[in-house]
Structure formats: structure tokens, C-alpha cells
């Protein structure tokens, strides 16, 4: 399964990446699984730990940790929004 992951705002700066393409192991089924997988990279990636205030989207719609991840999905991680 190959997906695109985007990072925005303070999270983009903390991680040092705006986007990456990942090939996922079969054990990753949900957005929560993916988040835990990325947080395990350690260092700055601990910013994605459960408990950190991070929002997630799949294919440009807000999504929760239980949402299934599918091949070619566009997934985004970002801090709570502050527009307006």
C-alpha cells in the first residue's frame, strides 16, 4: 500500500518535512496505526504521539484514528486550525 502524507504549519517545521510518499507494511490498517508507526521514528516524530494535539485528514476530509487507510490515500497531519 502506497500513500502520500502531508504535514502542515508547526508540525511541518518540527518534522522538517512538508510531504513524503510511504509504502506501508500490511499491519497498518487505520489512521491511528499510521500515526503510531510514524511516531515510532523517534526524535521530532514524537510530536505525533497519541496525546499530542494533532488533527488528521484523509483525502482532504477531517478523519479520526479509526478511519481505514487505503492505497493511494492522501493523508495529512496538522495542528488545530487558527484561521479566520
Amino acid at each position: 500500500m502506497s500513500i502520500k502524507v502531508l504535514y502542515f504549519a508547526s508540525l511541518r517545521e518540527t518534522l522538517g518535512y512538508s510531504h513524503e510518499t510511504l509504502t506501508l507494511p500490511a499491519t497498518i490498517a487505520t489512521l491511528g496505526d499510521l500515526r503510531a508507526h510514524l511516531a515510532k521514528r523517534g526524535g521530532a516524530w514524537e510530536a505525533l504521539d497519541v496525546g499530542r494535539n494533532v488533527r488528521m485528514a484523509i483525502n482532504q476530509e477531517m478523519a479520526g484514528a479509526d478511519t481505514a487507510v487505503a492505497d493511494r490515500d492522501e493523508i495529512a497531519f496538522f495542528p488545530p486550525v487558527t484561521g479566520g
Partner: protein, 157 residues
């Protein structure tokens, strides 16, 4: 007619308001909101925010604004809606956001305008970074914005 724009350029408030009722005679009310960059004092210092930069998620931002406008249209009788949100670097006094709502009567126009702003602040992917003498600083989300949006949720049961 509903229309959403995410753009770097400024907008003409008068022209946007006029367009909401142009060529029609069923509009009895146009309510609008304009959000501006404020020169907030920085905590513990004499200096003020000199500029801010707005980042967004191209694609998702437009989609989320369109979804908010559709949601408003399902809650109130609306005849037209216009939302404009800027991104990029903005200085105090500059316009950030415009929401205009046309309806037959003022009640629906006022309510929908406020609803769109409350939802925009908690659901549309924009992030503000303030320029300070020490460098850029990301603005934290405010709990007050979450509670403002939550009051529009349907009461349980």
C-alpha cells in the same frame, strides 16, 4: 449562488456585498463579516505583532469552506453566500476574511454569517504564524473558538 475563494489578493468589501443582491429582488437582507489582522501586544513586551503569515492546505481548504457553506444552507433559508479567505503575509489592518450571506430576512442572514465564521475558525485548515522580534511564532488554537462552534451542534436527544 454560493461562492468560495482562497486567495492571496485583497478583496473589495462593497463590491462583494453588492454582488449578493445584484439583479434580484427577493433578497431582503445581506449580513456580512470582515476579519482583520490585529496588532496584538506581545506578552511581557512593549512590541506588537508586526505581520502574520497564513498557511493553508490547498484543496482541502476550499473543500472545507464549501462544506461549511452547504451546511449553513441546510440550516437556514439562504439566497446566496460568499466566503473569501486570504493566505500569505498580512500586516495589521489588512483584511483576512469575508463572509457575506443573503436571505429574505435578517434573522437567517445574521445567524448563518455567524455560524460560517464559527465553523471556519475550527474546521477550515488555515494556520497563523506571527512575526515577533524573536522570530516567527505559531498562534495557538483557542478554546473559546471551540465552544463558539459547539453551540451550533444539535442538542442531544
Amino acid at each position: 449562488m454560493n461562492s468560495v475563494s482562497v486567495q492571496e489578493a485583497d478583496f473589495d468589501v462593497g463590491a462583494e456585498i453588492a454582488a449578493l443582491s445584484a439583479g434580484r429582488n427577493d433578497v431582503g437582507a445581506v449580513a456580512s463579516f470582515v476579519g482583520l489582522v490585529r496588532a496584538d501586544k506581545l506578552a511581557g513586551e512593549g512590541s506588537e505583532v508586526s505581520a502574520m503569515t497564513l498557511e493553508h492546505y490547498p484543496g482541502m481548504t476550499e473543500k472545507s469552506l464549501e462544506a461549511i457553506v452547504l451546511d449553513a444552507g441546510s440550516r437556514w433559508q439562504l439566497l446566496g453566500t460568499r466566503v473569501i479567505h486570504r493566505f500569505g503575509r498580512l500586516t495589521p489592518g489588512e483584511r483576512i476574511v469575508f463572509v457575506g450571506v443573503a436571505s429574505s430576512h435578517r434573522g437567517d442572514a445574521f445567524a448563518a454569517c455567524e455560524f460560517i465564521m464559527d465553523y471556519l475558525k475550527t474546521r477550515a485548515p488555515f494556520w497563523k504564524k506571527e512575526d515577533t522580534p524573536e522570530g516567527g511564532r505559531w498562534v495557538d488554537a483557542r478554546e473559546a473558538d471551540d465552544s463558539a462552534a459547539a453551540r451550533w451542534e444539535a442538542p442531544a436527544g
